[in-house]
Symmetry: C2
Subunit: 299 residues, 2 copies
């Protein structure tokens, strides 16, 4: 089955202590879509400017991503510049040029409306809601978000949380949203906002799922070198939704393995700037790391 | 088989944002010995002052701990006072009164010298070395340490690392020792100092083992409330060594489960001040949480 993915489609200029890479393909939808494409067909919803490089359109196409929902709008593509500190855990934004994303309104092609799996990647909650409004009864909807929306669009975000099956956020965002520093108490509070499944990402410490039949502690793949963690969270949830859309049986039955596949896809993302390492990955390489994680966690 | 455990035997006065508890039984050897006692016989090596409460001697005895190596010395028992911040992750020392620990020299009773398993709990590396010097060919020796010794007794610590089979430290100590912020690169560097097994503790994020047949990612038991984390690391390594001493077969075969048992024993430690929750635990309750961890990590 296919996954519809909405989110930002952007150009990222990324500095790390050792390297600098300008105008890479980035954005939550780009990372999630490429990650999901290893497992199932993807329909992309996004907006880019007239300056959006043709090579990035080719990159999406090479991954079989349906671009009927990608609008090319008058103006410039959303551009984010950021810098990572030595330990790669802290990043600061150097510049944000919203460009066409400022007035972007997702419009779903008719062929998109029946998609069974929907990933509302990180973008303004109002736009995530607008996509949901255009859908016909999807089977499983997951939303991602970020601290910015918790700070400036909480009302919309809470409206959204009532309407999704799953919500993914990182540990510091969970604390910001719930005022709980204990992860398991935070999970409980987030369920009360609506979602049946809540996943808290903890970077190199893995992630934790809370669902109807209990918790799952998901490991991160051990990396000796992190080149650029930008997009790792989007790759995680993209891989997760791609795996779920392709798996037989219920979401409940498949979601733990889906998280492991998401975790592994995210590990490749961290090994190169932007999408450089992700696009070189193969399904076979992903399966290999999943097997390694099985061995790494067995006791 | 029995475990010999050396370390500090102390009185801890602990403040958290909500509670205050003066002169609890504490110290690395106390926590590790009680934790290990759930699995195998323990021989304690330590020194206390004449003020050491009789009820704490009774507590050790109730856990079947052999006290032939506990010296009662003229002067006061080592006393540590500390305070935890709201999130329980940062603690600061309010006062340290060394008392008898300042001149304490471990003296092993003859019956201790043949102990097959030796835990050199957190105490000055010179004292850990002195215990090793008094042993007859132990089967498996593990050392714990802390940032203080990396900072003020590095030469002794490096001498010790050449002579132990396993070394346990937390993630910030690993970074301090190796100048590596990446955990897997840090593990590699620590092996080069000597130990065949290196375990890095990450608090609520679990722990990671690096050994001859690869890595193991060990989960932490999910806690909704942390009353007082003091001694959790000592309980972890105490439980680990107690489990190993009692298990049939090679260390390599048993060490992953030993870490899980250590992790669960540490989870009980966090649920009460000092040793209050640990001493109320039963082997049955530990087995129950190990089973839960199996379910929580299965995919």
């Amino acid at each position: 089955m296919s996954v519809l993915i909405v989110g930002t489609t952007a150009l990222d200029s990324i500095k790390t202590p050792t390297k600098e890479n300008p105008r890479l393909l980035g954005g939550s939808a780009s990372h999630a879509a490429v990650a999901a494409s290893f497992f199932s067909p993807v329909k992309l919803v996004g907006g880019v400017g007239e300056d959006f490089p043709k090579k990035y359109i080719q990159l999406y196409k090479k991954h079989g991503i349906d671009l009927a929902g990608l609008q090319i709008l008058p103006g410039k593509t959303f551009h984010w510049s950021g810098e990572y500190e030595v330990n790669m855990n802290n990043r600061r934004t150097l510049a944000t040029e919203l460009g066409v994303i400022e007035t972007f309104q997702p419009k779903l092609p008719d062929a998109y409306r029946a998609s069974p799996f929907v990933l509302l990647g990180n973008i303004a909650p109002a736009l995530q809601l607008s996509v949901l409004d255009q859908m016909q009864k999807p089977k499983f909807v997951v939303a991602d978000s970020m601290d910015l929306w918790i700070n400036i669009a909480l009302t919309d975000l809470l409206k959204l949380l009532k309407r999704v099956d799953g919500f993914v956020l990182n540990d510091s965002e969970a604390e910001l949203l719930t005022k709980e520093d204990n992860l398991f108490r935070a999970l409980k509070k987030i369920h009360a906002f609506g979602p049946k499944y809540v996943i808290i990402k903890k970077g190199s410490h893995g992630s934790v799922l809370s669902g109807p039949t209990g918790n799952f502690i998901c490991p991160a793949y051990p990396l000796h070198t992190v080149e650029d963690p930008t997009g790792a969270g989007d790759s995680f949830v993209g891989g997760l939704m791609g795996y779920l859309a392709n798996a037989r049986g219920s979401v409940e039955k498949n979601i733990r393995r889906a998280m492991v596949y998401g975790s592994v896809t995210a590990s490749f993302c961290c090994e190169g700037f932007g999408l450089n390492a992700t696009v070189k990955t193969t399904r076979k390489a992903i399966e290999q790391r999943v097997k390694e994680l099985e061995k790494l966690t067995k006791f």
